[in-house]
Amino acid sequence: MTSASFIWNVCKSSFTFGLIGLTVSDRFASVVPVRGLSMSPTFNPPNNSSSFRLFTDDHVLVEKRCLTDYKFSHGDVVVFCSPRNYKERQIKRITGMPGDWISVPFSYDAVKIPEGHCWVEGDNPADSLDSRSFGPIPLGLIRGRVTHILWPPQRVQKIDKKLPRSGLSF
């Protein structure tokens, strides 16, 4: 009898911990790996051994409290659903907020960011598919804000709100 109740207790505890883990990761924070080079050198900086890419992807802390009270601003690195495929997530930096004007590259036009939208760009403009391709994205697509790099250990750091060097928004 005692082994059955022991197993039952283990099941209950693991179920509770599983639920707590799910709730925390949905509503407070979670850890995700960063794929790709669109945010170099902030994430996944170029290094010599590109064959170890899978093991040395940066893992970052994504906080979700920002979805309720926080006001997003320039320089925040955010995780959002891709506007072209809602099952994929992308990580980019916000470089324009509603009301800003963004100059379109190689043309004399300027785009005004509509209300409720933002302009996102990768820190590595050469290798990044971002708002320069798919236009401004609604803020409702954002799923979290990146605050820290947690892995690999030598790259543990806080992410700053770095503004782009070439001032594209005015």
């Binding site: 639920l19 709730t23 072209r84 409702g140």
Partner: protein, 163 residues
Amino acid sequence: MGIQNTVMKMFNKSIAFGLVGITVTDRYAGVCPIRGSSMAPTFNPSLESFADDYVFLEKFCLDRYKFSHGDVVIFSNPTNYKERCVKRIVAMEGDYISNVNGATRVPEGHCWVEGDNSALSSDSRTYGPIPLGLIRGRVTHVIWPPQRMKKVDRRIAQDRLAF
């Protein structure tokens, strides 16, 4: 000691139920009230009724389901991400919608939503097609008031068919 034990047990149980409730509402299904009459007569058919319709919305659709024409969905308002709107999907990616300026093509990953009450609805005719990533759930049933309990059909008005 007996009373303290009982109180602790009730406290633990209510925390557990609270957690289960939060997880289920976030990930699987929920109930919410409908405000406004942009979806009349499907929801809130008359202005004089005191009670808003409450609907059952399911979130399983966010994982595997392929959204299609006629689904009533709840999504974040593209002009104000803290608000939610409920409208019907009239066209999916690749369809063409007839507009005052001719025909608009709905881009990849987006959908065109309209309210059933065209006169009183601010929808894709105002803010354009919305990315599917904004969708937060799919409405399946009206569950309150009791005389209006029914399943919500996937039906579109004849004059708003996409081509």
